[in-house]
């Protein structure tokens, strides 16, 4: 049977077909749909969201040692969080097959950096496989489990956004039942104290040599010969771009990328006049090929930044002199206003950023929808580094510049569970005068509203008790814990002001749920009384997508405001800040 599946859905299908027993992950674009698909369609695989990628990885280690085929999945920066267990699990090796999916995000469609995790696989000295479409993604998952078990190693499956989020045709197969295994006590293999780890490190080095042989022989690394003098070495989605723009060249496609099949590639290079390396992001292949003296070029023509595309690859080939003419776009681009993502109408984060903007304090930010608080016209978030960084960096900033200027950390509920708790412990322990705002909207909103320890539900839909954040932070020793309704602008502003002035760390929790998930919130909309509106534009500056410029203008020619009733959720914020009090409930307006 054939089906159109995204790369992520195909990975989930491969996991199911490979007889995997457990999958654990933390949501992160572009990896999220792997676990969502497992939970929705393949219930024979126990799947769970963990609070962060490190825990997910460790849950996976336990499952593998317990004898089960195991999947852990995360976005590229999530692997940084899980790097600690990864580096040493590479030493112990597995029992049941273990696959780590790293979904990289070239172009940073929804990420803070575009690191190339092929290097992390090499750093950990584990093999990685890289598919070029959905069909390969599914097949490679199954091969990855065989490799993991044959060579006793975790295996990385490296995806990129265009693989994860492209749908293509996939042939489905029936699932297999892998050999039943149990946990066997083996401290020399699994207890990484120095004496044991020294032995295991030697095994890792020897394993890498065996994997090198495998890389030379696996059908995942192959040449496609068309009798051309030009050879292209490529892998992943870059293969597809190159193959489309230059179908007549010879190709060496790398599907098994660590260690590289250097002998096979050397033969390929020697058989061609010109050889180019087409790879996205870093010169991972190119550097290794140049290091063994092969005459290849790549980054010089194709660049290291962002995503490749058919056009970029064509331009690079022209610059390299292997193609004479390429087709350029015939229509000039139009330079237009930007349309960045914005906080939704009714988003409970909006009132928080309006207050923080007013107070002109330093705001250390975190990863989530609320990172959008940095954009114009809110301009109220000053840093964003990684999951959980808001609290630690607020502490450091407050220590050097003093509390009187005010330092506020903003962090979402899921991010707080992920890696904010330890930051807050630091604030308590080191007596920091920071104000930590936990924007608790009861969802992992940015990635699509996934469950987490605070929602009271699991990925597979089980009802569980939820972690109560006020109880948790009080138990950690925070004495000043306040809750505010972020739809109440004056209250929010006053509470933040009070807590900034207070000695010791404060926590302010906002309580309104996400307007989209789990339930779409739509209360009675508000309207603008255009007779009273004087076009002051105060409501434009709260950056609500429901508020637009009316065709009517004031005497200076500035537009008055109009509210789209299909978008307005009735959150009341604009009505609260309108100096003319001309934003009123729709039903009241009709009466008047």
């Amino acid at each position: 049977m054939k089906e159109l599946l995204s790369g992520n859905e195909a990975v989930a299908r491969g996991v199911y077909e490979a007889g995997v027993k457990l999958a654990a992950a933390y949501p992160g674009t572009p990896s999220t749909e792997i676990l969502e698909t497992l939970a929705a369609r393949y219930r024979s695989v126990y799947s769970q969201w963990s609070p962060n990628e490190k825990v997910a990885f460790e849950v996976g280690i336990g499952a593998s040692l317990g004898g089960a085929r195991t999947l852990v999945a995360m976005k590229h920066v999530g692997v940084n969080v899980a790097a600690d267990p990864l580096m040493t699990f590479a030493y112990t090796g597995v029992n049941g097959g273990f696959v780590l999916v790293s979904a990289d995000d070239p172009e940073m469609h929804s990420s803070q950096n575009e690191q190339d995790n092929r290097y992390l696989a090499r750093f950990a000295q584990i093999p990685f496989l890289e598919p070029a479409d959905s069909q390969e993604a599914k097949e490679m998952v199954k091969l990855a489990y065989d490799i993991s078990e044959e060579f006793d190693t975790p295996v990385m499956l490296r995806l990129t956004t265009r693989i994860s989020h492209t749908k293509g045709i996939v042939e489905l197969n029936d699932p297999i039942t892998p050999e039943e295994k149990k946990f066997k006590k083996d401290p020399a293999k699994y207890v990484m104290v120095p004496a044991n780890a020294k032995v295991r490190h030697k095994i890792v080095v020897e394993r890498l040599e065996k994997l090198r042989d495998h890389s030379e022989n696996t059908p995942l690394n192959y040449a496609e010969l068309n009798g051309s003098k030009v050879g292209i070495i490529t892998g992943g989605v870059a293969y597809q771009y190159a193959r489309e723009v230059a179908p007549d060249f010879d190709y060496f496609k790398i599907g098994f990328g660590n260690p590289l099949p250097l002998q096979k590639i050397t033969d390929f290079v020697n058989a061609h006049e010109t050889v180019l390396v087409v790879e996205e992001l870093e010169p991972y292949y190119e550097e290794q090929l140049k290091a063994v003296g092969l005459k290849v070029e790549g980054k010089k023509f194709f660049g290291k930044l962002g995503e490749l595309s058919p056009y970029r690859v064509a331009l690079g080939m022209k610059e390299a002199g292997v193609v004479a003419e390429i087709s350029h776009p015939e229509i000039d681009a139009e330079s237009l206003f930007p349309r960045p993502p914005v906080l939704c109408p009714g988003c409970p984060h909006r009132g928080v950023f309006m207050a923080l903007r007013k107070l002109k304090v330093a705001v250390t930010g975190d990863i989530g929808c609320y990172t959008l608080g940095t954009l114009k016209p809110l301009n109220a978030l000053d840093t964003c580094i990684c999951m959980g960084a808001s609290i630690g960096s607020a502490i450091g900033m407050e220590k050097v510049q003093g509390a009187e200027k005010g330092v506020v950390a903003v962090i979402g509920d899921s991010t707080f569970f992920h890696s904010g708790i330890t930051g807050l412990l630091d604030a308590v322990y080191n007596q920091s005068n920071v104000t930590v705002m936990i924007l608790d909207n009861r969802a992992t909103a940015m990635t699509g509203g996934q469950e987490h320890p605070g929602t009271g539900r699991t990925l597979m839909g089980e009802k569980v008790s939820h972690v109560d954040i006020p109880t948790l932070v009080k138990a950690m020793g925070v004495k000043n814990v306040r809750e505010v309704d972020a739809y109440n602008y004056k209250e929010t502003l006053a509470v933040i002001e009070e807590e900034i002035a207070r000695e010791g760390p404060s926590v302010i929790l906002t309580s309104r749920p996400c307007v989209l998930m789990p339930k779409r919130i739509m209360d009675e909309p508000y309207v603008v009384d255009l007779e009273l509106c004087n076009g002051c534009s105060a409501c434009f500056r709260i950056s609500c997508p429901a508020i637009a410029a009316a065709t009517e203008t004031n005497k200076y020619g500035h537009p008055k405001a109009v509210i789209d009733p299909t978008l307005c959720t009735g959150c009341t914020l604009c009505a609260q800040i309108c100096p003319e009090e001309c934003i009123i409930l729709k039903s009241q307006f009709v009466k008047a």
Binding site: T29, K167, Y311, A548
Partner: protein, 200 residues
């Protein structure tokens, strides 16, 4: 349009149904026995940002994204987004643009940024085959503002090699049952709009 290759770029703003439209085109291409790839970016784009979906249909598809300047058809659910995407199209490609206007808060609250006066006229100045569709009006007339995407699919269907029966089946497989009827009507309305039926 070369014989067996159809590169379709669908653009709009988060929440307008870009992804459903590309799902339906992919499903109809699969039914008709073509190779198909459809690529889009999730995440940030859900929050009112630009949403772009690439659908590639051919006997064998390699790149998941369309090469700049190679799109055979552009479907735009918002007129400024249609103009923004116009350089992705081949010079003789077809742009189907809804007259929908969505001005983002970043423009409304700014003195420097402006929404173009007439994006469709600007698109027509650049490309020969631009079909402007009053999709919002038609949708309102049909009683559901959310069928703009199927109206545009109907227009696009005139330039794609699939039967109405295949389109109907594809829509039935992707649209919730109680909305199927109105979407089929919207599709039919769109199908009556062609390049030569639109006034310049």
């Amino acid at each position: 349009m070369s014989e067996n290759k159809f590169d379709i770029l669908i653009v709009g703003v988060g929440g307008q149904g870009v992804l459903l439209a590309s799902e339906i085109i992919s499903a109809v291409a699969l039914r008709a026995g073509f190779d198909v790839k459809k690529s889009e970016v999730h995440g940030m784009s859900q929050r009112g940002g630009v949403v772009t979906s690439h659908v590639k249909i051919a006997d064998k598809v390699y790149s998941p994204t369309i090469a700049q300047g190679q799109a055979d058809i552009i479907m735009a659910f918002e007129q400024a987004e249609g103009l923004r995407a116009i350089n992705w199209m081949k010079k003789d490609g077809i742009a189907i643009i809804s007259r929908t206007t969505l001005i983002p808060a970043i423009v409304t609250s700014s003195k420097e940024l402006h929404y173009p006066e007439d994006p469709i006229a600007a698109a027509k100045a650049k490309a020969a085959k631009v079909i402007s569709v009053d999709a919002d009006d038609i949708a309102r007339e049909l009683g559901n503002p959310r069928v703009v995407n199927t109206i545009l699919l109907g227009v696009a269907s005139n330039y794609l090699p699939f039967s109405v029966a295949d389109w109907t089946e594809a829509m039935k497989s992707k649209i919730k049952e109680r909305f199927v009827e109105i979407n089929l009507t919207a599709f039919e309305r769109g199908r009556s709009i062609k390049l030569d039926t639109v006034k310049a």
